[in-house]
């Protein structure tokens, strides 16, 4: 039987063709990773495979076998939130919160590729995910905070047009 590391634990894959999102949510009970579209479009199902973001809905458990997965449940260590999680709390970057685990995983992936992304890199990376509550400004600010980006003044973009 194939095995896979999930949040540091070795797990068995029941059948290689099992959808990875269903496997995580229903077989392992890791329901922090969400279903939003099942078509690779919304990013609610984003997890990390060997540190890089992956849409769980678009792949099988078998194809991730041998790799190391991190889900939102595996991000915080003990009682300490991951800096990206903490930044989302500090910026109140959430409404219903359904999209938030996916955004956090995307942001963690970005920061591991690019330790000091600029505002437009963050904006483009986050465009992979969808928040129907429209919390984008706060999400952007949370990721900037986690990345240590200097906060833009509210009128900066306006001034730049004049």
């Amino acid at each position: 039987m194939l095995s896979i590391r999930v949040n540091g634990e070795e797990r068995q894959v029941p059948t290689p063709e099992r959808n990875l999102l269903s496997y995580l949510r229903f077989d392992l009970g890791l329901t922090g990773t969400k279903y939003g579209c099942g078509e690779g479009l919304c990013g609610a199902c984003t997890i990390l495979l060997d540190g890089q973001p992956l849409r769980a809905c678009m792949t099988t458990a078998g194809s991730a076998a041998g790799g190391s997965l991190t889900t939102i449940e595996g991000l915080a260590s003990d009682a300490t939130l991951h800096p990206v999680q903490q930044a989302f709390v500090d910026e109140s970057a959430m409404q219903c919160g359904y999209c938030i685990p996916g955004f956090i995983m995307t942001a963690v992936g970005l920061l591991s590729r690019e330790a000091q992304p600029n505002t437009s890199q963050i904006r483009e990376a986050l465009a992979e995910n969808m928040c129907r509550c429209g919390t984008y400004q706060r999400i952007q600010q949370a990721v900037e905070r986690a990345a240590g980006v200097q906060r833009n003044d509210a009128h900066e973009r306006h001034d730049s047009h004049n």
Partner: protein
Amino acid sequence: MSDTTATTEDGLRIVGEVAQGFPPPPKSYARAAYSNAKPDTQSATWLIVRPDGRVSAYAGKVEYGQGIRSGLAMEVADELRVRLDAVDVLLGDTDHTPWDMGTFGSQSTARVGLQLRRAAATAREALVELAADKLDLPTGELECRNGRVISRADPARSVAYGDLVAGKAITRDVQEDVALTPRDEFTVMGRPAPRVDAVDRVTGKAQYSQDIMLPGMLFAQPLRPPARKARLVDADTKVAEQLPGVVQIVREGDRIAVLAETDEQAEFAAKAVQAQWREEDGQPTNWDVPDLLRRTAGEPVITQESGDTAEGFRQADAVLESLYYLPYISNAPMEPRAAVAQWEDGRLTVWAGTQRPFGLRAELAGHFEIEESSVRVIAPEIGGGFGSKSIYPVALEAARLAKAAGRPVRVAYTRAEEMVFATFRPAALIEVKSGFLDDGTLVAWEFTAYHAGERPFIGQRGSQTPYHLANVKVSVSSSESPLREGSYRSLGGAVNHFARESHMDEIAAAVGIDPVELRLRNLTEPRFRRVLEAAADRFGWSGAKPPSQRGVGVAIGLDVGSYVAACVEVQVHGSEVTVERVATALDCGLVVNPEGAKNQMEGSIVMGMGTALYEAIDFQSGRLLNAGFTRYRVPRSNNAPKIDVELVGDPDTPSTGAGEPGIVPVAPAIANAVFDLTGDRVRELPIQRHLRG
């Protein structure tokens, strides 16, 4: 969960009238729409102070992104003088929370908050009395601070709330006339605070109905008709029955569902059912809707009338007539509806992310012909809804299937099912005819709206003009709806505002006056003037006659008693419109939770931007052509504008809503900005489809 309502439990329990928080809806349409607008009990537990010092507050509302849990916790913490993190708010559980009509309409939320404040203030007074006994001091010498009752004269003499109630089971009634904390003594309300449920949301612990799993639970995949109004003629389930994991195929009349051990097995087997459907011919397409709206219009309802518009048009220097059209759009919350149902000894429990747990309980009890007390509905966290989750068909499906299977059953919509089987903001066609003087003063206003669907309260919302003039006639008719219409943020408010506020800009262009100035010239209500001036100021608005080629636009609005204005700036490249920034001002009276209110405003703006630029439901032969995010575009982070929100309400004015009003000025402000930049007046949404480019 422990039974927190057992009356033998230790602690100080505050009970109060249920109806106090929820006067029955005044209009018969609300009764008709939400059939069970009647509480089942007279009184309920609103608040408990527990022996460990923690406070539990109960409300029948649900959390679907609006931050209600934080808002209510702040009200209780302030009245009871405890830390925000000492308050647990329990929501939306028909076994444990006070009856509630449903989470919609911001007024009822404000009333629940007030009832909880009264309950908390009642508890505070009771604790002072208990402490007076214990410390042997007169109540007048005591005050409450940080979870303790303290002697004013000698702060060393104090007692913790928990110690006052330990080993006792005390019950008090909410005092309706209890003295509430005056505003200038608030230390929690009105200040920014992190959300009380933030950590659960960033760690994945928050449970939504999609996440509920029970031991022995089966996954269901009901057979869905391929088109609207399609009838099942015949179905052969033999192949499907033999597939791995399939436990049962349930057939009740026209309905067939596969129950399997996993979600994928259920889906796969449902596809293997050989079904024949009879479809209904001649169903309208989205292109037929404007014509259909006029052709099938019912008796118009006059929502505003004064003076004589014919006389007004005679006095006018100029008359302008325009026609506006808004298509059907989808709420498309990120979480598709899901429900899990379980029967145990004739008692039904359903987890469902509905806005109306008590309404759903009544529906389920009615369907199965059992007492309401034999049904428990629990609304977990809800992944958005924007009004649409009052209707929650998967709950009954799950309950029926669980009954048939004798095991817990989960029914969850896919994204496509969510879009097809949910409701839509109905399409509308709106004619506006205005008469005005050369200086832009309005003298006559006729607003004739045709909204799709049988729920007149949707189309009537926000149809009245807030501008000051003598001759007005506003009428709204309901027309046939080829799609199922339902609630959406502000109902038809944003729809009517699009026509009215676009038209105001057309007048500004016709007379050559700055659009902010034109509005101020016709507004007398000070709250309106204040939000408009605040938004313009914040934006750095400088007056010019449109089109000024700068790409700036403005609109104002009134919804659920809150006043709002928005100024936007756009850029256009080909047919791609980018909203660069938005400055908005809201007057919703007293603000309990300013971060929450701003967050809602920001979300409303992004949502309104989607309706303005991208969103429209296309359909043909009873099929949705864009049921999914490939073809139904919604805003993403790289489309989102820079948003600046100012709250300008007077704290002595009662709270009105902050969740809905933000959307009403957005689409017209964007259309006005597009006109200002390009000279192209787009009267039909979404703009990107209709811009000449």
